[in-house]
Symmetry: C2
């Protein structure tokens, strides 16, 4: 009874969230440039209404009643837990602030796009200052005594803190830096030409779509559109949309971008239909989400087995590539070299990009640096961590969309996703014995159903930490990820694990 | 003070209306098929929230206070008038019914699309029955003692009634039937070949877009997309979207469809920026809206002067048409013959299509016929009015989208639009002396600015009737429309006005 009352009230919140997502998708893919101000108003109004619903006495009472009456470890208990977490969070944020945050992101997105297009940080600086200030206000409303950055991290990955993530990034740096150094010392230069050449937009779209379909992404419940920034957004499991972008001289950004987003898309399409619209209806967190996208992109899409199947299709799709072999392609998919753009970084260096953002954000929100310091501090951090500097702000501090949308504390979920991904894939390999043989046949059915049963249909029934441990039998660690990256790098660069 | 209070409250309603419009546009242009059920839920939730806002004691009090304090004939008075009209209307409709109506349209749209694609009325019948029943309930909530159809008509054209429209359609039939008969008796068959041939989608898109741009439709504040049904929807004056469809064997549906929708679009883009988001921020009514679209489509787009300018562009755009002259093209744009599809009907017969729908709807809502009778009654009415019958339901009772969206009483606004359109254009011709010369130069600036000043920027400051009289100096009549159609038909078919 109290569970169904909570479900009824939550459905409105869920419908409002879906509505915001439609407006957001449209804003990034379809909206004409002049539509921005009105869109900001509409999003602000929706945020205000959602905030009022989320902070009503009625929903709090129904969640508390549900918590009281729920049997231990029941679905009802999970619904109450997740509802109360979000309700208590919302009740700490003043309505005006919730609305101002929503409105500011629309303007921030527009000025970031302009600034990035003309490589001029000053065009974005004012909006960014507003976004940082509003997020500072939000953080101090959420956690008046704790560190501001923790309050922000918690939004994207419940329970994540600077105190836990700091040592994690330190240890990843300690392991990855010698690896990158050993690669550099090896003198080996990977031949990337199998991935380079002349790839038409059309052929890349057809090929990418075919692969997404093979993965099981349902185009009757989804779309693939061009956008400046690849992303996935779900309005319900039956309407999940992904975007892509491409280069005509290199197929990797498009294909692996599509596989990445389709990995997110499979998670959203696979959420438990019975719980849609309830407080546990969504994905469990961004780290888990990223584990799904990165598994398809990296552990499947860059595997030898995958290319056993994909190569003939690839050869047929792209003229001039009819002679490429798997042995030639494999190294081109596993370089380990410092680069400027996070979304195109290889597996070995990717977490260093995230570490850089973690360093920058923690300092920004502890007041050690200001918005004006960002361009220079960004370049300095890249030099420290990756040994390279961007030539311009478009490839530096302006490369990511996240801050323009007011998302601070989001990046670390990418690294959590990498770690979860590797640990899940290890377990999957133990449970599906002929995994490689299936991939080499282009048969991804068993993989997808394994993920669907173990992860997707769990929705938010358990916390992310609980789910990882439930599925893999161990708490999350970096071991599987590091073992994997060492192995593949050793193979591609001909260096032994001992040298690292 | 009371005006600004009302404005503040109304802005939320306006933002919700814009949000519903985004979801509606997406549903018809972008949404994957499986997304329908969730979209229906979201639209239902939004309708419920909007209804609650519109029926709150707070907004009623602020509108009443505004009405009391407003000076006679002031903007504040207009805002109060329009707010109170909508508030009182909403307060008569129970919240559950408002939500059910919104939810049912999404399902109706989907089943109508299926039924139409397979020409099978039975696939739509059940949803249509629900839609009719809910609209009967709505009508009796709005007007417990009056005729149901009047209550529905009033939603699209405030003040319109069956008692006024009945005689109007009777008199149009009385004037148009002899005209069509005289055309038939003349034995003249218009050569339509200048409009027929081979027109690629791409060339039609480029040409149509060029014409829309010439008209002044701002693509920085709009889009043009393909859709099953051409329509225009505005989220704000700076985000107004139009759709089109095409035939490859006849350029008329695409070009005149685009000019029609761009005419609507110019109205939406030209609404008074100072009043956006207030109760008088929108267009004044559907009749006035349709006057804008049909003026560009028919009185401008099918004029000799327009083709003086457009023909060289047309010849260059379409291979095989490089020899066509204005004298050859003109008759092909002014046929007067019975046809099955309303949106492709010529000016002379168009109002008979509307008269047919008026007959059918008035009987449906007075209980004289049922949903099951519709296919046969539709065909019978077409035979009575136009002398032809559809071969299948896709070209008959299923041709229009309106009922699937729960819009009953909408069609008569098309005829009102035709009449307003002709009367406005007559006045415009008196005030702009070299109108034809400007069109023949492809210069539509003066026309657009005249419409902007006289109509668009008036938003809902006055009622539609008031505005027509204010701009043209006379109350609305059918005179200008009938004079125009008689003149052009006489010219094309070589018959004198006295024979009609």
């Amino acid at each position: 009874m109290s569970e169904s009352k909570l479900d009824t009230l939550w459905r409105e919140i869920s419908d409002l969230t879906a509505t915001e997502a439609v407006l957001g998708w449209d804003q990034e893919t379809m909206m004409p440039p002049k539509g921005q101000a009105a869109r900001g108003n509409a999003l602000g109004t929706l945020a205000g209404i959602k905030h009022a619903k989320m902070t009503s006495a009625e929903i709090l009472e129904s969640a508390e009643a549900c918590a009281e009456m729920a049997a231990e470890d029941s679905v009802a208990e999970a619904k109450a837990r997740e509802a109360l977490r979000q309700i208590h969070r919302a009740r700490k944020i003043p309505a005006d602030l919730a609305k101002a945050l929503a409105e500011s992101t629309s303007s921030g997105l527009a000025s970031w796009q302009k600034a990035r297009a003309s490589s001029d940080f000053s065009l974005f600086a004012q909006d960014l200052e507003t976004l940082v200030r509003l997020n500072q206000e939000k953080a101090s409303a959420l956690s008046p005594d704790g560190p501001a950055y923790d309050a922000l991290l918690d939004e994207f990955e419940p329970g994540a803190t600077e105190a836990v993530l700091g040592p994690l990034f330190d240890s990843l740096r300690a392991d990855l830096s010698p690896l990158i150094q050993a690669v550099s010392d090896s003198g080996v230069v990977v031949d990337e030409s199998p991935a380079q050449g002349d790839f038409s937009e059309k052929a890349q779209a057809v090929f990418g779509k075919m692969v997404a379909q093979k993965m099981g992404y349902d185009f009757e419940a989804g779309r693939l559109d061009l956008a400046t920034h690849p992303f996935c957004t779900g309005f319900s499991p039956s309407d999940v949309r992904i975007t892509w972008r491409y280069q005509t001289d290199d197929f990797r950004p498009a294909l692996f971008g599509i596989m990445h987003e389709a990995g997110h898309g499979l998670y959203e399409q696979g959420l438990n239909p019975a719980w849609v619209g309830t407080s546990i209806g969504g994905a469990v967190g961004l780290g888990m989400h990223e584990s799904q996208s990165r598994m398809w992109e990296n552990l499947i899409g860059r595997s030898r087995a995958f290319w056993e199947w994909a190569l003939p299709e690839f050869r047929a799709a792209f003229p001039g590539k009819s002679e490429v072999t798997v042995d030639q392609m494999f190294p081109a998919l596993h370089t380990a070299k410092a680069s400027l753009i996070r979304v195109e970084a290889d597996e070995a260096t990717y977490n260093l990009h995230v570490a850089a953002r973690f360093e920058i954000e923690r300092r920004l929100f502890s007041g050690k640096i200001s918005v004006a310091d960002l361009p220079e501090f960004w370049d300095q951090t890249y030099e420290d961590l990756l040994g390279i500097r961007a030539d311009n702000v478009s490839e530096g501090v302006l490369q990511d969309i996240h801050w323009s949308m007011g998302a601070f504390g989001y990046f670390p979920t990418y690294t959590l996703g990498n770690l979860i991904n590797a640990q899940l894939f290890e377990t999957m390999g133990q449970e599906i014995h002929d995994l490689d043989a299936q991939m080499a046949q282009g048969d991804f059915h068993t993989i997808r159903e394994w993920l669907r049963a173990k992860i997707h249909t769990q929705s938010s029934r358990y916390s992310s930490d609980q789910l990882v441990e439930k599925v893999t039998g161990s708490p999350l660690s970096a071991d599987a990820f590091l073992a994997g990256i060492r192995k593949v790098t050793a193979e591609v660069y001909g260096i032994s694990g001992n040298n690292m």
